[in-house]
């Protein structure tokens, strides 16, 4: 059985205790909401897309250390990046979480940075949903912004 250290890397606990981009944005920012019906975790993603770029992003809601740190890292990773790159990152992250959505194998050449620390979650299948919640919610927000 994998140990707690495999799951709770230091960088994860750091994001959990000091979440990045925490807060909310007023309209015209778009908002989407995700629930983990299993455990009650909730995530809100507020997003401003300008000229194909994730101009600003804020994260609300509550959840466990895994869902919160994943959301925090995600916000840091996509802020200021082109929408296409954000979408590619969602695909790559879910792939890392062993969620196969079909489509092409993601390009794994670019470094993942802090997100690398979440790799250990795969060994705890129940927590994959925690890690992925914010990413699904971001995908929805990007869809809304594209409408």
């Amino acid at each position: 059985m994998p140990g707690l250290e495999d799951l709770y890397r230091e960088i994860i606990l750091d994001h959990y205790k000091s979440p990045r981009n925490r807060g909310s944005l007023e309209p015209p920012a778009v908002r989407s909401e995700g629930h983990n019906p299993l455990c009650g975790d909730e995530i809100e993603v507020f997003l401003i897309v300008k000229d194909g770029i994730v101009d600003d992003i804020k994260i609300g809601g509550q959840g466990c250390s895994i869902s919160q740190s994943s959301a925090s890292m995600m916000s840091a990773a996509v802020k200021g990046k082109p929408v296409e790159q954000a979408r590619a990152l969602i695909h790559r992250f879910k792939h890392m979480m062993s969620i196969d959505e079909g489509g092409e194998e993601p390009d794994t050449s670019a470094p993942l940075g802090d997100l690398e620390a979440l790799q250990g979650v795969v060994k705890f299948p129940v927590r994959i949903k925690c890690a992925v919640l914010s990413w699904n919610t971001l995908a929805e927000a990007l869809d809304i912004a594209a409408e």
């Binding site: 059985m1 019906p37 299993l38 455990c39 129940v126 927590r127």
Partner: protein, 410 residues
């Protein structure tokens, strides 16, 4: 793999039972099938070593149980060639699956002036739910008639389907054994703009099933008829239809959020799986699917076809004009379910004499009263064979039947 019926029999402990020193001749598998050790053991092992809640708690034991439970769903999906695993829904039996379709899809799609097409050979499970909703909504039910040899009479099918919203039919009759041309019927439904619902209770256990090759929209069947446990049925449905339907039962697991003012529901498959699911049963069905897959559904079908030929010939040879076998005489068009009348002896009395010889058949209307009226009978004797039945079971049936003849001609 070559098929060895004696090897198969050794997997089913009940078939080794002696009742009053005589072996059991189980010919009631169209009703419900016996269970092999692989299924019994999978359930027992799980209860002894791994029982835990699924899709709720986060600890390892629960995660492992969830994996097994969801793994069984994936096995079923493969077994029937479902495009997506989350299109496979657990229900309590095929009956609930059919009620779910009628209630959920039907309520959203059927109103006065609409029509639904059924056939004259349907099981009550594919009749009564439609009649219940029709009484509320005022839509019409149209019936595909039968030919004299127990096949669907398709000569007017296009007229019957004209303007209909759904065509719901059995893939194989549980009384006559007739195997219907499922793919063609689905295509005819679609041509008319109707959805196609296949009651596959008698098909999935007995022949290879490919829901995509059928082109069906919904397919239902029961675990207990395919060497799996009771308490579990399967509804497969096209994702686009399931997504558009309202939920059926409300409660835990099927929700995304619940507030005092109302609820929002979860994604497939949870949306249609309210409350604690038949978990032990799903694991049993997973083992049943593995068991049947290892034997090969082609082999099962071939074996049953051999038995059917033998049984039809033996009954005709030994009883001639004393016996009336309902349905087709062509084993290629039918499964190993054989209903018959024997002189004017009542089926219930025949089954009594057969039972005295441990020959287990069903005597009755087989939950298909409209069909029975068409046959002009209140009841028939039905002998139904499965992968574990042998030529000597056919002999036992014939011997017991001639005993019944003797007894009632005193």
């Amino acid at each position: 793999m070559s098929f060895d019926v004696q090897k198969v029999r050794a997997d089913f402990p009940v078939l080794a039972e002696l009742i009053n020193d005589k072996p059991l001749v189980y010919l009631d598998s169209a009703n419900t099938s016996q269970k092999p050790n692989a299924v019994i053991d999978a359930m027992t092992q799980f209860m002894q070593h791994g029982y835990a809640p699924t899709n709720r708690s986060a600890y390892q034991l629960a995660a492992d149980a969830t994996d097994k439970f969801e793994g069984a769903r994936a096995k079923v999906a493969t077994f029937i060639n479902a495009p997506k695993v989350h299109e496979v829904l657990y229900t309590k039996n095929a009956t609930e699956a059919l009620n779910l379709i009628v209630r959920s899809w039907g309520t959203a799609n059927l109103s006065a002036g609409d029509a639904v097409v059924l056939t004259h050979m349907e099981h009550h499970a594919n009749i009564v739910p439609w009649q219940m909703l029709a009484a509320e909504r005022g839509f019409t039910i149209r019936w595909v008639p039968l030919t004299s040899d127990g096949l669907l009479d398709l000569s007017n099918l296009d007229t019957l389907l004209d303007g209909a919203k759904a065509f719901s039919f059995t893939a194989m009759s549980n009384v006559l054994g007739t195997i219907n041309p499922t793919a063609a019927l689905c295509a005819a439904a679609h041509k008319a703009g109707a959805i196609a619902i296949v009651d596959a209770c008698q098909a999935v256990p007995h022949m290879p099933t490919d829901v995509q090759a059928w082109g069906a929209d919904f397919v239902t069947f029961s675990s207990h008829k395919m060497v799996g446990p009771s308490g579990l049925g399967i509804l497969w449905g096209r994702e686009s239809l399931l997504d558009a339907m309202p939920p059926f039962l409300g409660g835990g697991n099927m929700i995304s959020d619940v507030k005092l003012e109302g609820f929002t529901y979860a994604e497939l498959p949870a949306k249609f799986e309210a409350g604690t699911q038949p978990v032990i049963e799903a694991i049993g069905l997973g083992a049943a699917v593995d068991y049947l897959t290892a034997i090969g559904m082609d082999n099962v079908r071939a074996h049953e076809q051999d038995i059917t030929v033998l049984a039809l010939n033996s009954l005709n040879d030994r009883f001639g004009s004393d016996i009336t076998i309902h349905g087709s005489t062509d084993a290629a068009l039918r499964g190993a379910t054989i209903s018959f009348a024997y002189r004017d002896v009542h089926p219930h009395d025949i089954s009594q004499v057969l039972d005295q010889n441990n020959v287990c058949v069903r005597a009755g209307h087989h939950c298909a009263k409209p069909l029975m009226r068409l046959l002009g009978a209140n009841a028939t004797v039905r002998a139904s064979f499965y992968l574990y039945n042998t030529p000597s079971d056919v002999t036992a049936l014939c011997d017991a039947l001639s005993e019944a003849g003797d007894f009632f001609t005193l």
